[in-house]
Symmetry: C2
Subunit: 369 residues, 2 copies
């Protein structure tokens, strides 16, 4: 293999592809990136078996071939080189030479035969989404999934495709996030994808600003996210997701309409004290047109007050401040609704109009005074 490639282009592609390189793997070949000449240029592939990324960069191919290079060393070298043409060549013993102006590196590559086959999937169903809507739905739900891999399926986000709608749902036993958007889809489908991987995909999407559409192709076990010249292959999670619709409360005795930004600021100020105590506990008390937020720790107490609109009963209810903040910060509406029933039943945070999101948050039991 012998190619000539622009340093800056190659560096950008490595930035994306190296996100699929596992830092903790015990399989040496997975610490590498596969370089392979293709008609479009040079295809770079990396995989940690849960997620694989393929991306092609235009290069001048002087001699066809392929080799696996150590990901971290190769990326470090390319990043350090000056912006200009880099010549990369590989001899039959898999010794890779990298030349650029007055620099010359020789590194030990591995045979491409040992690299796991990422392969093509037999395209059964294909869906197309607006990139920004797709990104927004991931950021509105992924934080609510469990990060404890021993908890099974709830490390995943349920993606529900239905006639004209896509829903994403994540939960961790203390709270649940539901995001909805309309989409031109034909087939009904429910898949579950690890939330960590969807967050990773969100980061990759940020590095590809020129694309508007995300294409998702599914077979039984895998999904392929195609965006511009980048292909991300993910393993789907298997299992039964919680019937989330059954958990969403249908009624409310208390409805608070609040300015979202004011509420975020007040809870963040109260959190300064709450996080010094146990459970990060804040207490919301609603009466008349006031919402009072209090918290106490061994080091002191805090009291915040803001104007709200109240429909229904007065209430006093405790929450983990983080769960409320996570939800309120994931959306950008000026006003939001807090729908509640009693101090021991869940609160639902939702938009004033529509159902683009719903955040269900379990309360923390508090003493009577």
């Amino acid at each position: 293999m012998k190619i000539s490639v622009n340093q800056s282009l190659l560096s950008k592609v490595l930035n994306v592809v190296s996100k699929a390189v596992s830092s903790r793997t015990t399989i040496p070949i997975l610490k590498g990136i596969l370089l392979k000449t293709v008609p479009e240029g040079l295809k770079l592939s990396a995989s940690d078996l849960d997620i694989s990324i393929e991306k092609t960069v235009p290069v001048t191919v002087l001699e066809e071939g392929s080799v696996v290079v150590p990901a971290s060393l190769f990326t470090d070298i390319v990043k350090m080189l000056p912006n200009g043409e880099i010549e990369i060549s590989c001899d039959p013993s898999m010794n890779v030479t990298i030349k650029c102006l007055t620099s010359e590196y020789s590194i030990v590559g591995q045979s491409p035969e040992e690299f796991p086959s990422i392969g093509e999937i037999s395209a059964k169903e294909t869906y197309e989404f607006d990139k920004n809507a797709f990104k927004e739905m991931i950021s509105r739900t992924s934080f609510a999934a469990s990060i404890d891999e021993s908890k099974g399926i709830i490390v995943g986000i349920l993606m529900e495709l239905d006639e004209g709608a896509m829903n994403m749902v994540a939960l961790d036993g203390f709270r649940m996030a539901v995001a909805r958007s309309s989409v031109a889809s034909l087939d009904r489908k429910r898949i579950i994808i690890n939330a960590r991987i969807l967050s990773e995909i969100n980061k990759i999407l940020m590095d590809i600003p020129d694309a508007d559409t995300v294409k998702l192709t599914l077979d039984e076990k895998r999904g392929v996210v195609d965006i511009s010249d980048t292909k991300i292959i993910i393993r789907l999670l298997e299992g039964e997701f919680i019937r989330y619709r059954d958990i969403l409360p249908k009624e409310h005795k208390v409805r608070v309409t609040a300015n979202r930004k004011e509420l975020v600021d007040a809870i963040e100020r109260a959190s300064v004290m709450a996080r010094k105590g146990k459970n990060n506990l804040i207490v919301l008390s609603v009466a008349d047109d006031r919402l009072t937020i209090t918290s106490r720790s061994e080091e002191g107490t805090v009291r915040e007050e803001l104007f709200i609109q109240l429909e229904g009963d007065e209430i006093r209810i405790g929450f983990n401040a983080k769960f409320i903040l996570d939800a309120l910060k994931a959306v950008d509406d000026e006003e939001i609704l807090l729908d509640m029933n009693t101090s021991v039943s869940p609160c639902l945070i939702r938009p004033v109009e529509g159902d683009a999101y719903e955040y269900l948050i379990l309360p923390v039991r508090i003493s009577a005074n």
Copy 2:
């Protein structure tokens, strides 16, 4: 005590003073900041016994008094409050109330009597330095001091005041940094200050952009750095510093004149490989008008080449790349000199003209080929 103070002003002052709060202390009072009303406003003090900082902020004093507040909680609270007037009051039981618009915090303070006395020093000698020159000398030397507190006096920087000159010297057994500047001083004086503390002072000086002059007052055991309305009290180190002049080589058989930036870039690129190996070793080979830098690790090899001017013999010599880079990055000259003798004797990095700095770096023994 009862005062009213602007949030933004107080936040800036806390940013400086809290640098003297020890995070690891086992003495509870040292986790606090002393607030005390004085004629100029509110004086804030913090101390970890090695370094103490005092700074005064203009406030409206409604009632005189003093209290020690928990540094991290108090700083967090003030930072989170909106920019406006904050009312801070303290009752006789040392309960501190902080009010700002709709926020009200109550935190537990401590009696100021337990706070260590920072005190005034009987001004024996006073020196004045240009702030930028002072900062520059610290950044040109502090990185070369030992960070191993068990190594004794070499964790310190020697500050040598002489007629018309100030020198700073730091060393760690592998390299030595000497910085020199002219200053209008009268008394001869040699003091040693912990390099970590001088680096801390450098950070503080960056937060005080409006001052041009640093005043240093010394007694036997302590130094006071006065800058604008900030006072930093430091404990001087006791002991005998190495007679550094005896170590500086007086002659050289090889003199390389190199472009500093080109040399830095080439060594950084070679370091990508060097840091994968042992000792971070690079080998410099000088012949004719070329400097070749090579390095090897288990993962491969690298070779860099740049044009230089050579006076004297050819040489092949090994170094820890970090030591050369630290020195070259601490200065900003376009060209620098590398003075050497043999492959087992130290290299001296110095300016083409003058003696504003000298970096002595011990070589690493390398095999013959």
